[in-house]
Structure formats: structure tokens, C-alpha cells
């Protein structure tokens, strides 16, 4: 079994290398210009990707972006990089309830995973920024995050000799600007695609799930309908499709008194009170603790929450109302065995290739 998995992983890596070589051979490289890079992802992820025309992905841009992602000079105390709170081994989270910034003050919300951002349009738990190019301004300049103005970051990078050539390769001139820093970071983060979990291997016909995992898959994507004897957890309505991601903002019934207004802070609209972004469940077993306030320590706790009666507030997601496996039931009503099967499915979403891929690792630690 172990040997089979190893062989499959080797085949997968070889296919990645082959596709890279094929691409390398077919591209029309113009001397002195950055080389276009096609980001690999499976067809079942769909092409609703977000790459701005003014910042196409290039090999050199991604290389620079990776260096900047792990560059501690971008923080005021020279200790913190993006990679400090977004660790590759934890699917680019840090395992903490709330991450600490340069001044030791913790963030108000849990650090989000960076997997499959290529399909995300609005960033953070409340969707306050559109586009990865603008997203990075928030952590870089936040007083309790990296705590440094973009002007200071530009000047610090200018003083580090190696960067001028990397900016030259990525953007055609040695000029270091705050826009180019943001563009390179965005290019790198768009390449953080997780698509080789056992669930992906199952979708490619290379892995046979256990009975428990198969039941978990079925429960996850099925809405309960007790009048027809159909059992389901109804997760797919929000975490839909193979990406387990839809760009939605929902109130998932955590509190009767909502202290963090979530999406309402951005829109000011009544219906957005207590709404937060529905996250991807890719690598979810690696990204504990869960929810915007990190209140749940394990997947079992999360499932217990969704299995009990939701706390009803006016903005509670309609998807979580009248969702029961029992006639006239007020809670989801999954059995312990069914909850176990769902966890078995969620564990299938861990992608060991993603968390060990050298293309995403810290270049300063090699």
C-alpha cells in the first residue's frame, strides 16, 4: 500500500516535471523579458481564475515573489515574514488561535490558509480586499502585523544587493517599487495550488476510498431529505465542488450575540452581520483551530457544532436552516458513525505534495 502510494506520488511528480518541460519547450521566450508561466491545475477545478492582465504570472515573477514571501526585511523588526504566520507544513497557517505581529499584539481573527487562492476574488474573513495585489498591503503595513510602510520596505530591499537583479528579471528593470513587491507576492501566491490529495487521486481514478470515506463523500455532498429517506450533511451547498470552495459569506450560527460583525464591517449592510467567508476545506486537517475566532480545536468539534441546533439570529445562513435528517427535526441529526465518516472524507483532503513542494518552500533555508 505504502509502496503503491510512493509510486503514484513519483508518477505525479514526473508528470508535473514533464508538463513543465513541455511548456518550457513550447514557449516563445523573448530575450530580456520574463517567461510566461502556466499554473498547473486539474480541469475539474474550473477556469474561473483571477489573474489581472497587468500582472501576468511569470517564472521570474514567481521566483521573486517566493523570496519576498519569506523576506523578514519586509517587517519593522526584521523578524517576521509572510511565511512566519503562513507555514507551508501547516498548509500556510500557523496552528495558533491568533497570530502575533511584530509588536506581540495578536490578530483579531485566525490566520487563513493560502491554498488555491487563484480562485479567490475577495480576501480575508470579511472579504475586505479584492485581488491578491491589494491583499498584501494589509499584513505588510498593519501595525500589529509586519508593521512597516511600503516606502520603508522598498528602501530596505534597495539596500539588499541581490534584489536588483531579481526585479530586473521579473519586471524588465531594476526598479524596486511597492507595486512590484505586491505583484511578485501575488504571482507566487497564485501558484500555491493544492490538487494532489487522496481525494484528487480518487477523482483521477488512482485511489479507492474506504467504505467510511465513500460514505463521508456522499454525506458531504448530499442534502438531507428525511421524507425520501435520503441522509446527508448538506456541506456541498457552501463548500461545493472538488475545490470545496465557493466564494460565499455566511453566518454559520455560532453566537446569539454577535460581537465580531464580520462582513458587515466592510459593507455596512444589515444582512451581513456575523457573516464570514466560507473557507476551502482543502488541507483542513492541517489548519486547526477552526472558525474566524478559532473556537474549535478539532474537526470533531466543528462537526458537533453543525450537528446541533443552530443558534438562530436574523442573519443565520438559510443553508443551515431546516436542514435535518429527521422529519420535523431542528438539528442536522447525524449519527456518531456518520460524523466519523465525514471526518474520514475531510482527512482525504490533506495534500502531502502541497506541504512539501520545494517550489513553495523558504529559499533562505536551503
Amino acid at each position: 500500500m505504502m509502496r503503491g502510494t510512493r509510486i503514484r506520488n513519483i508518477i505525479y511528480l514526473l508528470s508535473l516535471i514533464t508538463s513543465a518541460l513541455v511548456f518550457q519547450g513550447s514557449r516563445n521566450r523573448i530575450p530580456g523579458e520574463p517567461t510566461p508561466l502556466k499554473i498547473f491545475y486539474p480541469a475539474y477545478f474550473g477556469n474561473r481564475v483571477n489573474i489581472p492582465v497587468e500582472n501576468p504570472t511569470t517564472e521570474e515573477g514567481v521566483e521573486l515573489g517566493r523570496m519576498l514571501f519569506y523576506e523578514t526585511a519586509l517587517s519593522s523588526n526584521n523578524w517576521v515574514s509572510c511565511g512566519t504566520c503562513h507555514r507551508q507544513d501547516l498548509a500556510f497557517t500557523d496552528g495558533k488561535q491568533f497570530s502575533e505581529g511584530v509588536d506581540g499584539v495578536v490578530q483579531p481573527r485566525n490566520t487563513m490558509s493560502l491554498a488555491n487562492l487563484l480562485w479567490v476574488r475577495q480576501f480575508f474573513w470579511d472579504g475586505k480586499t479584492r485581488g491578491l495585489e491589494d491583499q498584501s498591503i494589509v499584513p505588510m503595513t498593519g501595525v500589529h502585523e509586519m508593521g512597516q510602510s511600503l516606502e520603508v520596505s522598498v528602501n530596505k530591499l534597495k539596500a539588499i544587493k541581490r534584489y536588483s537583479s531579481f526585479f530586473m528579471n521579473a519586471f524588465g528593470s531594476e526598479q524596486i517599487t511597492s507595486l512590484r513587491i505586491r505583484q511578485a507576492l501575488a504571482q507566487f501566491q497564485r501558484t500555491l495550488v493544492s490538487c494532489n490529495s487522496r481525494y484528487d487521486q480518487y477523482l483521477r481514478g488512482e485511489y479507492q476510498p474506504t467504505a467510511s470515506e465513500l460514505n463521508g463523500i456522499s454525506l458531504f455532498f448530499t442534502n438531507p431529505n428525511p421524507s425520501k429517506g435520503i441522509r446527508g450533511a448538506g456541506c456541498g451547498g457552501c463548500h461545493g465542488g472538488p475545490k470545496t470552495y465557493n466564494e460565499l459569506f455566511h453566518n454559520n450560527g455560532l453566537d446569539s450575540v454577535i460581537t465580531d460583525r464580520g462582513r458587515q464591517d466592510v459593507t455596512g449592510k444589515e444582512e451581513d452581520l456575523g457573516r464570514f467567508r466560507v473557507v476551502t476545506l482543502r488541507n483542513i486537517a492541517l489548519t486547526a483551530p477552526y472558525m474566524h475566532d478559532a473556537r474549535f480545536r478539532s474537526l470533531n468539534e466543528v462537526l458537533e457544532h453543525y450537528n446541533k441546533e443552530m443558534i438562530r439570529t436574523p442573519t443565520l445562513s438559510p443553508a443551515l436552516q431546516n436542514n435535518s435528517n429527521n422529519l420535523d427535526g431542528r438539528s442536522l441529526g447525524l449519527t456518531k458513525k456518520e460524523r466519523g465518516d465525514l471526518v474520514a472524507f475531510l482527512l482525504l483532503l490533506t495534500d502531502s505534495t502541497f506541504i512539501t513542494d520545494p517550489r513553495f518552500s523558504n529559499p533562505y533555508k536551503q
Partner: protein, 166 residues
């Protein structure tokens, strides 16, 4: 005289602020994209348009009647080609319905045109004579006759008209 002018200017400023605040917080339906005239319709605007009913089967299998405005009537207000004019390249146009939680569903223009179908898709704001509940209203789409109600989306905030370009 100068005091009165100052007072009037301040009053006008306050009214402007209140109006701006209102348009931010009061629910409206925006109609944007490939339209002749962009719209921002209030609840009052919608209530003043010709009213139609549509029936949607709920989860328990019961038929529920909703009242609102035919989507086609809203699109005609925005200057979209309908009926006999909906032909040629206009048949590759679509309507993207956007909801406040980020949910989106799509219709081809022909699907919602009385010249093509007897089925009337509506933007509903009432059911059984009452406003829709906050979790689903104030505006939602009702698509009669579909096997699953996935396109009968809640909390609609924007209708975007566009050409399919591929």
C-alpha cells in the same frame, strides 16, 4: 441673512449625508452591464411596477405563491432587447444574478423572455401578502417549474447583463 445662509447650507449638507447613508444601507436592486440605462431600484420602485405571481414548490412539496415583478419587465426598464428584438447576437446574452452572500446564478435572456417561454421568472418581494423574511429577502428570484430550487436565489442585490464572449 448670513446666519440663515449658513443654516441652509448646513441643513442641505445634512440632508445630502442622510440620502447617501440611506442608499448605502437601504436594500436596492442594481441593474448593470450591457444595458442602455443602469438602474438602482428601491423597494418602492419595485412595488410600483406591474405585479405578477409565481409558484415555487418548497422542500415539503407544498406550492408557495410569491409576488413580485417579472424579470423581463426590469430588463426592459434598463433598455434590454426583448421579444421580437431578442435575436441574432442578443441571443448570446445572459443575466447573472448576484446575491448579498456572494451566491451567483445565471439565465440566458431567452429563458426569461415571454416571446420564448410561458414560464415567468420573477423578482419576488412578497409571499402570501407578507414581505420576505430577512434571511431570504427583501428580494429573491422565483423560477417556477424547476426540479431543484437552486436558481430561486435569496437576497438578490444585482442583475448583471453581459455577452457570452467565447
Amino acid at each position: 441673512m448670513r446666519r440663515i445662509s449658513c443654516f441652509l447650507i448646513t441643513l442641505f449638507g445634512c440632508l445630502q449625508l442622510l440620502t447617501a447613508q440611506d442608499s448605502l444601507t437601504k436594500p436596492t436592486i442594481k441593474v448593470t452591464g450591457e444595458v442602455i440605462k443602469e438602474l438602482n431600484l428601491t423597494q418602492k420602485d419595485i412595488a410600483g411596477m406591474p405585479r405578477v405571481n409565481a409558484i415555487l414548490r418548497d422542500r415539503d412539496g407544498k406550492n408557495v405563491t410569491y409576488t413580485g415583478v417579472a424579470l423581463q419587465d426590469i430588463l426592459e426598464l434598463a433598455g434590454i432587447s426583448t421579444g421580437k428584438d431578442l435575436r441574432g447576437e442578443n441571443l448570446s446574452k445572459y443575466l447573472l444574478v448576484k446575491c448579498s452572500d456572494g451566491y451567483e446564478v445565471l439565465f440566458s435572456l431567452a429563458e426569461i423572455d415571454k416571446g420564448f417561454t410561458d414560464r415567468v421568472i420573477i423578482l419576488a418581494d412578497e409571499s402570501m401578502g407578507k414581505p420576505l423574511p430577512p434571511a431570504k429577502g427583501p428580494f429573491r428570484i422565483i423560477v417556477p417549474g424547476e426540479k431543484v430550487p437552486a436558481r430561486s436565489s435569496f437576497q438578490v442585490v444585482e442583475l448583471v447583463v453581459a455577452f457570452a464572449k467565447e
